[in-house]
Symmetry: C2
Subunit: 257 residues, 2 copies
């Protein structure tokens, strides 16, 4: 973080600290992750204990667009959504006089690993209705919507469901790296940062994203790139020490929402 921004944040915090209701402040988004560029907002969350007059929403401070959110401290003490795991486990705490925020985040980091295992298995089941696990890996073979759309000659729905399959694959790539899933806009941009990734991930991503025509050839081309992603994922799960069920479909039946 450059000194100019540090100074702006320092000034911003000195105003906020005057409010006795404020428990802490964290930077989220790219400012929290320290992968900002000149187009980034300064996303931040102000945790309060009760009501406050501090302003919320977007406003300019110096040359930076701040996007501030007021959150009651009780909200992060209870259940976290997926986006909260990504936002807060990758945040920078900039004010936390009672160490309350830091304690919560540490506890949630533990909880994440358990949640990740469930999320990963449910994501594989979601994928199995798009990508066919023809070898019945971990009980995941079923008739896919993708192949039904092919049978119906509905090539536009087929392409679109491959898009959705690709989104699930992106999620799974983060999960096998024990990373919370980024907010939706960042899933491709942050991918190069994870450790376990196919060597030619860039090329494969391009291959899946392109949709050049509504016919079987173009669908086959994209599906082949998906196969390479899925084989990579299967190999890595096999090699890993992750506690994954031998029959993920059965796991899903017992654990779905």
């Amino acid at each position: 973080m450059n000194n100019d921004l540090k100074q702006v944040i320092f000034d911003y915090l000195s105003g906020i600290k005057e409010d006795p209701q404020v428990v802490g402040v964290v930077l989220t988004g790219s400012a929290g992750r320290e992968d900002m560029d000149q187009y980034s907002d300064i996303d931040n969350v102000i945790f309060v204990n009760g009501s406050t007059t501090i302003k919320e929403g977007k406003f300019m401070l110096g040359k930076y667009l701040f996007d501030s959110r007021i959150v009651n401290i009780e909200e992060i003490q209870s259940n976290w959504s997926e986006d909260m795991f990504f936002a807060y486990l990758n945040s920078s705490i900039v004010y936390d006089p009672g160490n309350i925020i830091s304690k919560i985040i540490t506890a949630k980091r533990e909880e994440w690993t358990t949640r990740m295992l469930k999320r990963l298995q449910l994501a594989l089941v979601e994928l199995s209705v798009i990508y066919e696990f023809s070898d019945n890996w971990k009980g995941l073979k079923t008739v896919t919507h993708y192949h039904k759309f092919l049978d119906r000659n509905d090539y536009i729905s087929a392409h679109r469901i491959l898009n959705i399959g690709f989104e699930i694959i992106l999620d799974i790539l983060y999960l096998i790296n024990n990373s919370p899933i980024p907010d939706i806009k960042n899933k491709i941009r942050l991918l190069p940062k994870v450790k376990i990734l196919p060597n030619d991930a860039n090329k494969l991503v391009n291959e899946v994203v392109l949709i050049t025509s509504f016919d079987v050839n173009d669908l086959n081309r994209r599906y082949k790139a998906l196969i390479l992603f899925v084989n990579f994922i299967k190999d890595n799960i096999e090699k890993s020490q992750l506690h994954i069920s031998d029959n993920i479909y059965q796991y899903y039946l017992a654990n779905r929402a």
Copy 2:
């Protein structure tokens, strides 16, 4: 529904009815909507009051692949997820001796209209960070992730975020038709069934879905199709009697989760 399937369902139900825990049975999915084809599963939900030995999951009955789910009746008496609204408001009740299921669904149909108004406004805010409301329609103008990706020359993330914008537009099209949002695989297939739709919706969908290269020209081509969708949506909201805030961004700040 053909007579063969009717007979299979009749036989299936006669077994289920023997279990005194069963409160009712509904067909969901394409069987519930009566838009099945030869590739469709027979999705069905068996509502129970306590534990049962009826089997769940996928199995063949005659030439049909049944996909049965056991749900405790308490589950549909409490809060519904979005997928539940779509599944149950479009279901066919095939067994409901105490009229319990039918009463719940009728009450939830009322609830839907209120939820829809909230969902629609939140969806427009989600869209506003991808598609630029340059006229500041209903307070929605902001810097978009799409344009930031263009500025960064990150054309692959730009294409992908237009995909996400298109998914939001599909949701909004269902919402302005007062329809719950279909499960993800059906959003394109069921679109021709809604009433309020651009005349050239098919052509526009194709235009948005195609991604032929990673450059500004191809992005502009897709974005232009999005503009036409958004203009259609704005016009229809203006013409409608929907109770939508004049400043949707302010509404979002007050009503987000």
